[in-house]
Amino acid sequence: MAARHLSNVAGAIGFILYLNGIAELALASAAPAPQAEARQVLLLHSFGRDFKPWSEYAKAIRLELERQSPWPLDLQEHALITARSADDNPEAAFVEYLNALFVKRRPDLIVAIGAPAADFVQRQRARLFPTTPMILAAVDQRRVKYSVLGPHDVVAAVSIDYEAAIENILKVLPDTNHIAIVVGTSPIEKFWKEEIVPVAKRLEGRVKFTWYDAYSFDDILKHAAALPPNSAIFWELMIVDAAGVVHEEGRTLSRLHAVTSAPIFSYTDAFFGKEIVGGPQVPVLEAAERVGAAAVRLLAGEDARAISVPLTGMGTPKYDWRELQRWGISESILPPGSEIAFRSPTIWDQYRLQILGICAAVVVQALIITWLLYEHRRRHLAEVLARSTMAELQGVNRLAAAGQLSASIAHEVRQPLQAAAANAYAARNWLAAGRQDIDEARSSLDKILDSVRRANDVVSGIRAMFDKDRTAKSPVDMNEVIRTVLTLINLHLRRHRIELETDLDNTIEPIEGHRTQLQQVILNLAMNAIESMQSCPKRILRIRSRRIEPHGALITVQDSGTGIAAADLERVFRPLFTTKSGGMGMGLSICRSIVEAHGGRMKVSSPAEGGSILEFDLRCMPQQ
């Protein structure tokens, strides 16, 4: 079949014996094992050693042979370049040449790589060491003449599925409507073009095909650089272009890749590695592995007819990550089970631990911040609630006190009213007809004004004590607070026959605070004290203020009452704690919260001599 194509090639290069550097890769013979003689293997290349895809097969086969062979190997590599042209006359000379090379010792194994080499050895088998075992490798099954296989011949063929390869293009790039096929004009290229044509025919109407065998390689580059969108290139082979130029060095694919405006696909992973997007491809290594295995068996003397090498078909679809990126092909569109090669390590791959560490730190930090914010908010809400609750309780507490003290308060108001009334009557009398005692009358009127002022002070004190506290903090004289409270409870003290002892330190400085609240503290403490003394014969209420250096005041309220049990000392400040039958149990709790809101502390004690002592300190305003 190859011969038929050979004759068709115009402007063919003449039959040249291409001795590819007489590659005597006597790798193993350099260090021959004493127990075994080196096996001579003739590797017969179809083209030069550098033509892909066979060069890749050859490389892989060499490695496999060396890996699998128990013996030292003497690899002799020769290439026929007849495949590039159509003239087969010089073949005989090449056969003679090979015979001459191996005249002393014929090879132990022949490995023909590629279809042209297979074709050549099959035709020349009778003259080429006919009893030497031979493997036809890296050849598509369609290029093997099974009918003339000899008893020493083994086929390790591959099977290219162009349909799958081209369908793959349409699968990963569904919008593709134009495919350019890169294929040259040499006999083998012509053969494969004819294999692709039916596939192209089946896709007619959906995809337009451009065949590059009509272009010089330079024109191919120009054309590929200007391909319209939705185009793709299918790389078959480029050995000899339309201008008859032989492209051996294997740089054609990379030159095309450098200029192309469309993604490039192929059918074997021999080309895979930089320029090809990927897809199902004939796996070179797998094929080479099978060649190696068969070679070892043949070298061991096994009958070739007993060796059956499985066909190497299209492998698992494999894609080049870089090309997927370049052409914007999503990994999700790839066939299931696809492999992705050359994934460039992302920052994630390189710094995974660091990134995870940082992320974890950020997350932990965020959690802590969130938690703190949450706690802050909760606390804020609780404080607001506590404040409003406390404010309400303070209000209730004040109202209760106001109720308790109403008689006392009325008493305190009536006193100046009485004085004023009596003075008014007196003034009227002094001015009665016939008397006209102006001086006495004026004196009475002055006294009325004094009484009015006093009454007003009492009323203001009541408002300040029992009204809702809307005032801002202001300087408060604690002695005055104590006096105001004592005025209001004056009658209360008397009715309960309480002896009052006040000892106020006039040197204490004003403190910054809420007057009403502080009055409430004193009032609560005093009322508690009065109540605690109800059943006692001796009823003394002592209220004392003392300066604390440098800026503070200590207020002490002591009674001679029943005192507080040691067990209760801890509990008296708790809300709802009460020893009184009618008490709410909020008084001391409120007192303490007010004192603490003013930056002070309240303590309770029950001295041995009886009664109880409640004292609290407050910070005075620093002197300017």
Binding site: R414, A422, A426, R428, N429, S443, S444, K447
Partner: protein, 120 residues
């Protein structure tokens, strides 16, 4: 016959005002700041009538009335209070008081009480 009216009230302003009022009405009046002070002075014979506050530290008005009755100086008493209490009122009136006045009171009511007390 004694015509001096003694005023006993711990509140200075009330005490002085009452004294001035009585003076303006032509009475001789003396003010005391507590029952104890009044007793200490012992001018029982000079006193025709007592105007006493009920709520006072130490000995209050009611106690004073009882004390005077007990020691034989049952002087006419008029009570004045800023803290009206029906029970106390009944008690003092039953004990012979000539009046129970709630502060602030009318001049005329005071005069009625005094006149009653003195006429006795």
């Amino acid at each position: 016959m004694a015509t001096k009216i003694s005023i006993i009230d711990d509140d200075r302003a009330v005490r002085e005002a009452t004294k001035d009022l009585l003076r303006s009405l032509g009475y001789a009046a003396e003010a005391f700041d507590s029952a104890e002070t009044f007793i200490a002075k012992g001018d029982f014979a000079e006193t025709s009538c007592i105007l006493a506050d009920i709520q006072m530290p130490g000995m209050d008005g009611v106690a004073l009335q009882a004390f005077l009755v007990e020691c034989g100086h049952a002087l006419p008493m008029i009570f004045i209070t800023a803290f009206p209490d029906e029970g106390v009122k009944q008690r003092v009136l039953a004990s012979g008081a000539y009046g129970y006045l709630v502060k602030p009171f009318d001049e005329s009511r005071l005069l009625d009480c005094i006149n009653n007390a003195i006429a006795h």
